[in-house]
Symmetry: C2
Subunit: 315 residues, 2 copies
């Protein structure tokens, strides 16, 4: 595993770099990719982002300026915020086994690249990338703005338990470059579409409580998404909703990706390790936030998750 | 107006200090009072907080350990986060005209004390107090925990537009003392009662949109409060909900106080001055947040507010 200095030195020695983001891209992977691209270009290098079909209205503006043109021939391949090759977007499948440097912050990181660097204690991959980019040169506003998106979105605007003193220190340094972080906060944390509001209301109305109210099970069926004409962006981070309910320490959100295939997000308190539960079903993540995909009828999905939680809670 | 150094020097020269908080106390005033008390005690001084009858379940634990016992005879009186003597709690009325040092961060601060220090650019009074306490001695965890409450609550956990690099730098320094800031975040920013969630869902479900979606009108009828057995605490700050809806720049929340009497909260963007609208109906407030009380049937309340907004928007 690389140190920050060695990762910076590698990047400094490379050129013609293509950067990969993960499937269903969030603010952290998009922000990191854009910031890394800006940082490499500031060093005079050629760098682009491999197109990701899952961008939302909120993330697209940070990605678009750096999207690779057709026919770009890369020499080095770097991934950001990707724990495993299973999380490559479909259009990046040909790159499996070919990544030169993977930069990540997930405890479940699989070190799938030729060179790897991970900081599992970081709230966002953007925190680690900040240190790498700071070792390469000055943090310009072009680097700082997407990095602020990366850091702030992955820690729920500094409210999640993964937030540390380093998270705040990085935010302070980024803001000091003069970026318009206020618009980022308004767009990502203080604006909801009307469809989003209807989605949240439906989830909360149908929420099922178990184990004396400690466990909540919420579903986002395809039929709900379709009836509201909801987009990917509308459904982002719905998994944080259940954990906000007083008394809940295990919030399961099951989203139907296609008929009979459910993407599970699990948010937990100290009592239950979310990764241990999701690993039972081939997933992974962090101690307090993990995920997996289950192909089964909804009743079976519910049964597996509830029994998985029981099993892990029992130690 | 004092500098940070002079305010620190004054406090260092005093003893037997009584600290005042404002009416309807929030996290900033309570957190500042507790932190200042802890800081003064760390210097070997005697210091207490004047009891405030408006504490909530969330703020009480930070205030209670420092509440003044009956008969405490103070030599110096200090107020924190109080812009004007009109905001003294009723039980502090006798102290009007007698405050020795006022520490505040409101642009409308009236410098009502013998000595005054204000930093209008600070998101929280806690940011200014951090600098003062840091000039007095090491920031202990006993000081840092309530200060974190002060800073984080007044900037909406670093999401509001008043958040600056200094806000984050202070948060980083406080967290480094080893405090349990995660519990603060959970209690203040990531916990909603089930009743609160049902209230929000009902408001959003029944929301009425006008003027192409720029104006939203939401109601909290007595019947809704009663059917959910909702408390005052459950209904707190419901008025901030409407302003989060994409495209909305005028959010009206009408809460029925008693049959036929509606308390109106109006939150606005730059297009409409909220105070000008509410003044039409005998109310007042700030440019972006104002209120009034209207005694009329709901249809008439709606009509007046919509026409008031139209009138003020037309200039």
């Amino acid at each position: 595993m690389l140190t920050v200095r060695k990762a910076a030195a590698l990047l400094k020695s490379w050129d013609n770099i293509l950067i990969l983001t993960h499937i269903r891209p969030d603010g952290d992977t998009v922000g990191c990719a854009a910031a890394l691209c800006a940082g490499l270009r500031a060093l005079g290098k050629t760098a682009y982002l491999w197109p990701n079909p899952g961008l939302t209205d909120a993330t697209r503006p940070y990605f678009a300026p750096y999207a690779a043109p057709d026919g770009f021939e890369y020499a080095k391949l770097v991934s950001v915020d990707i724990a495993t090759e299973n999380l490559f977007p479909d259009n990046a499948a040909p790159y499996k086994g070919h990544v030169d440097l993977a930069i990540d912050h997930h405890p479940s990181f699989e070190a799938f690249a030729r060179e790897n660097i991970v900081r599992p204690g970081a709230a966002a991959c953007g925190e680690l990338l900040y240190d790498i980019l700071a070792a390469l040169g000055p943090i310009t506003p072009e680097i700082a703005l997407p990095l602020y998106v990366a850091v702030s979105t992955d820690c729920g605007c500094f409210a999640y338990a993964n937030t540390t003193a380093h998270t705040h220190a990085v935010a302070a340094a980024l803001i000091r470059t003069g970026i318009d972080y206020r618009t980022v906060n308004k767009v990502f944390f203080r604006t909801k579409t009307r469809v989003r509001i209807q989605l949240e209301a439906a989830l909360l109305r149908e929420a099922e409580f178990y184990d004396g109210g400690r466990v909540v099970f919420m579903t986002v069926p395809l039929s709900l998404m379709e009836s509201l004409s909801a987009t990917e962006g509308d459904a982002e981070e719905l998994s944080s909703l259940g954990g906000q309910i007083e008394g809940v320490d295990c919030a399961i959100t099951a989203r139907e990706l296609k008929p009979g295939e459910w993407k599970i997000s699990l948010r937990t308190g100290a009592r239950v390790n979310a990764t241990k539960v999701c690993q039972l079903y081939g997933g992974g993540g962090h101690a307090a936030a993990a995920g997996c995909t289950i192909e089964a009828p909804l009743d079976e999905v519910r049964r597996r998750m509830l029994s998985g939680i029981e099993q892990v809670a029992a130690g």
